[in-house]
Structure formats: C-alpha cells, structure tokens
C-alpha cells in the first residue's frame, strides 16, 4: 500500500521553479526522509503534500486523496509538526494540547502525549515561556495527539538537546513500529540515518539520489579506505572490498594494532551529491 505517490510534481514562485518534476513513493508504515540544502524545495514539497500549497503540475495522492481538494476527514488522518510555529503564546501547554485533542474522535490522552515528549512538568506553563527546544517538543505533541496515519515532520528536532533528540527518535521508532507512516525533512544526517527506512536527496528542485541510508548514492559499493602503520609510517589503500587486502596483511603477520577501515559516511555521500549538483 502506498501512503504518498508523487509524479512529475512542479511548483514555481513568480516564474522561478523551486520544484522541477519530482517523483516519490512512500509506502505505508515507512519512515521516509527528505534531505537537501536550504532552498532545495523540501518545505515546498512537504507543504504541497500537506495540502497547504497548490501545485503547478504533476499528480499527487496522499492516503489515496488529492491533498489540494481533500476535506476535513482526510485532514484528521494526517498529523503535521510545523517548522516555525509560534502561536497561542498565551495558552498553557496543557490547554493547547487539550484543545487540539478536541478536534479528534479518539485522541491520545493529553497527559500521555505530554509524557511522550517530556513536557509533563511544563503542563501549566504559558507557551511563551518555553525554550526553543521545548516549543518544538510541543509541536511534536500537537502533531501526534490525533493518532495520525501519516505524520509530517519538518525539521522537528531543531534546538533539541541531545537527550531530547534521543527521546524523540525513540518516539518516532515506536510510532513507525506500529504502522504510522512518517515523512521527515531534516538537516541532521545522523537523524536521517538513525530513523529513515529510505531517503531522497533534493537539490535545486530535483531528486538527485534516492535509496536506503546504507546504499544512497552508491555508498554501499563505494569501497573502503584501509589504513595501518608500519614502523610509525601511515600506509593507506583504497579498495573495492577490504577483505582480500586484510587477509594478505594477516598472513604477512603485519602488526594490525593501528588498522582502520572506513567507508564514506552518509554525510560524505550527501555532500558529494549536493556538490555534484552545483
């Protein structure tokens, strides 16, 4: 079953094309990450899928409906974590969660949602007093309170401290583990690698690579760099498969206490893809 199906999506602002014909398929229950530099078209694409923006061309189906015309029953099935919300500053955290929960027929209990995002002790605080990271955690709470089938996360962990980010990852894995489809945009490559089943790299409004984090951009077949020291002198060899070389070294009784084998990180691959596009 497909949760999101996009064919030939196009969008221009005042004649300048920011999304230039992209295709995407996201299966139900999948965690899919959209990566790309600022201005690559990530947010525009996401907003079209959410039904917030009209597209100029292409076909889009989200949970079987066209987001441009889908009604409130469809909206109840999606959850959105906004990138830059700064609203309802005069409500308390608890009031806001309870209010949004009231839009749904069988919402998660507000107290449970606050516990999931670690805001239980800020329940009675006015929203304007939250730190940036706490505010984003509230946005996550508001995105999941309606038990959505499909959750949009637009740079959700900006401003999170490391512990909050780990807890957030656990939460996303738990949601995905029980069937929630998740579309994530992020600048943090380790976040995409930790969470995503598959990812796509957007640059200049086009998808320049798509695949699993392990295989993205030919990363799995990119070979490895083997390094070791002989009498303090660094030796390095770039090989497609490190196994024969290491076997050779072992058989030659080389001292391998300094051996390292490195493959390109997701970040290396990503930067190479973005760089090639420019």
């Amino acid at each position: 079953m497909t949760a999101i199906e996009v064919r030939g999506l196009r969008k221009a602002y005042r004649g300048r094309e920011v999304v230039s014909g992209i295709d995407l398929d996201v299966a139900r229950g999948e965690v899919f990450a959209l990566l790309g530099p600022n201005g690559a078209g990530k947010t525009t694409t996401t907003e079209i899928l959410e039904g917030h923006r009209r597209r100029d061309g292409g076909e889009v189906r989200v949970l079987g409906a066209d987001p441009g015309t889908a009604g409130s029953d469809w909206r109840a099935r999606i959850g959105i974590v906004l990138q830059d919300a700064d609203d309802a500053a005069d409500l308390t955290v608890g009031e806001m969660v309870k209010h949004v929960a009231g839009f749904y027929a069988g919402p998660r209990a507000p107290a449970e949602v606050l516990a999931l995002v670690g805001l239980t002790d800020r329940k009675d605080s006015r929203i304007r007093t939250l730190s940036g990271g706490q505010r984003r955690r509230l946005d996550v709470a508001l995105g999941i309170v309606g038990r959505p089938e499909l959750l949009f996360l637009d740079e959700p962990t900006t401003g999170f401290d490391p512990e909050a980010r780990r807890n957030f990852w656990d939460l996303i894995r738990a949601l995905a583990g029980e069937g929630t489809t998740i579309l994530l945009t992020t600048h943090y490559l380790e976040e995409a690698e930790a969470l995503a089943d598959r990812l796509a790299v957007l640059a200049g409004g086009e998808i320049v690579a798509q695949g699993t984090p392990a295989a993205l951009g030919g990363r799995a077949s990119a070979g490895a760099k083997v390094s070791w020291r002989v009498d303090g002198v660094l030796r390095t060899e770039q090989v497609p498969d490190p196994t024969p070389l290491i076997r050779e070294l072992v058989e030659a009784k080389t001292d391998l206490s300094t051996l390292t084998v490195t493959r390109p990180t997701l970040e290396d691959t990503y930067l190479a893809l973005i760089g090639a596009h420019r």
């Binding site: 959410e50 039904g51 917030h52 009604g71 409130s72 029953d73 909206r75 109840a76 099935r77 999606i78 959850g79 959105i80 906004l82 830059d84 919300a85 700064d86 609203d87 309802a88 500053a89 005069d90 409500l91 009031e95 209010h99 949004v100 009231g102 839009f103 749904y104 027929a105 069988g106 508001l142 309606g146 038990r147 959505p148 089938e149 738990a174 949601l175 583990g177 029980e178 069937g179 929630t180």
Partner: protein
C-alpha cells in the same frame, strides 16, 4: 504497550471542533485582557469627554444622544475590524492558521468561530459602555432596539470581512499600520466626537462607521427607524467583504 502507538485517526463531530475553537478564541481574548480594556479606553474617553463636557462641537442640544450611539458604533469597529485584523495578521505569521489548516477545522469553521468570539466580546463591550452611558444620563428608546441590533450585526460582518481580508493579504506589520490608520480616519471623519462635514447619503456608503453611528442615533436616541440608505450601505459592505474574505482567506 502494544497498540499504544498505533494510528487511530478520526475527526470529532464538526460542532465539537468549532465549539472547541470558539472556546480557545475566547480564552485567548480573556488572556489578552489588558488589550481588551485598552480597546475600550478610547471609546470611554470619547463618551465621557465629548458627552459630558463642551470640549467639542456636536449637533443638537442633547450631547449624550449624539455621542453615546457614536461611541457604541466606534467600539464595534474597534473590536471587529482593528483588533481582529491585527490579531489575525499576527496569527498568520506565527503559524497558528497553518496549524489550524492542518487540523480537521475547516475554513468556514474557523471563520465562524472567530466571528462568534468577536460577537461575544462586542456584546460585553456594548453592554458595559451602554451602562456607563445610562449612568451619566443617556436615555435610549428601547422600543427601537431590534433595528439597532440588526445594523450592528451587519456592521460587525462587514468589519470582520475586511479585517480577515487584510490580514490574509498583507504582512502583519502592514495590517497593523493600515488597520490603525483606517481606525483614526474613520474616527475623525465619521462624526463621532464632533460634527463632521455632512456628506449625506454618499458619506454613509463611504464611511460605514458614520452610517452605523447615525442608525444607532436614529433608533436608540430618537426612537425612529433606520434610513433605507443605511441598510443598503451596511448591507453592501457586509456582502462584499464577507464574500471576498471567504473567497481569498489563506491559512498562511
């Protein structure tokens, strides 16, 4: 724990959704209590200043009969137009409208909730100001209250429509500036504190504040009826701007 994280979406009945939004709008308004009091400060000053002293030149012998209905009309404009335009403009820039657009609350649902909350606030403000007017000696004709309420509903609709239209088209700073400017211009030219140049029927079509104030004077202060031209003027304003707002209102 199995199932605790499983999706189970579904929207609440639309009536519940809208009721929840109205409650939130009212709560937010109450939290901005100081702004609400300030919004009544100008009308109160005008009422007491122009109504009880000879500070300005007003037509007729009965100053309160002229000034109090004008102050009531001014308050409706202040809350339904100026206040609502500024609040909605900032809500748009803060992302609240985008969030609501992502929720099962529909666009008509949001407009209905906002209008209802504004109407509730206006009723409270009008009761307070009318009570102050009564306390200082204004003697309204209660027999004419129905047409007075009728023109007030039309004026509220027109102001709300214009407010939402501006808020969805301009940047919040521009909305704030334009809404304040229109408020001051209407206050000066609308014949609220002092007798403005009589533009006749044309003035009623140009200045809804002048039309509304005149209708309230005719009914509440003098026990008469609302001139047809005022019904037409406020009706046109309401239809044009409510339609335009419903057509063009954007979530972000």
């Amino acid at each position: 724990m199995s199932g605790a994280f499983a999706p189970a979406p579904g929207r609440a009945p639309l009536r519940t959704v809208v009721a929840s939004q109205i409650r939130m709008e009212l709560t937010l308004t109450a939290r901005r209590g100081e702004a609400v009091v300030l919004a009544m400060g100008v009308p109160l000053l005008v009422l007491l200043g122009a109504g009880l002293t000879e500070a300005t030149n007003v037509p007729g012998d009965d100053r309160l009969a002229f000034v109090v209905p004008g102050v009531l009309a001014l308050t409706v404009m202040s809350t339904a137009f100026t206040g609502q335009a500024i609040t909605t403009g900032y809500e748009r820039s803060y992302g609240v409208l985008k969030r609501l657009g992502a929720s099962p609350l529909t666009r008509p649902g949001l407009l209905f909730a906002k209008t209802t909350a504004v109407l509730g606030l206006i009723v409270l403000q009008l009761i307070t100001l009318a009570a102050v007017g009564l306390a200082v000696g204004w003697r309204p004709h209660l027999g004419s209250i129905l047409p007075a309420l009728g023109v007030t509903v039309l004026a509220t609709a027109a102001y709300s429509g214009l407010a939402l239209l501006m808020a969805s088209r301009l940047r919040p700073e521009a909305t704030t500036g334009a809404a304040t400017l229109i408020y001051v211009l209407m206050l000066a030219a609308g014949g609220i504190m002092f007798a403005a140049p009589d533009l006749g029927t044309f003035g009623w079509f140009l200045l809804p504040l002048a039309a509304h104030a005149e209708a309230l004077r005719e009914t509440l202060s003098y026990g008469g009826s609302v001139p047809t031209a005022i019904w037409l003027s406020l009706g046109t304003w309401a239809v044009v701007f409510v339609t335009a707002a419903a057509r063009t209102f954007r979530w972000e």
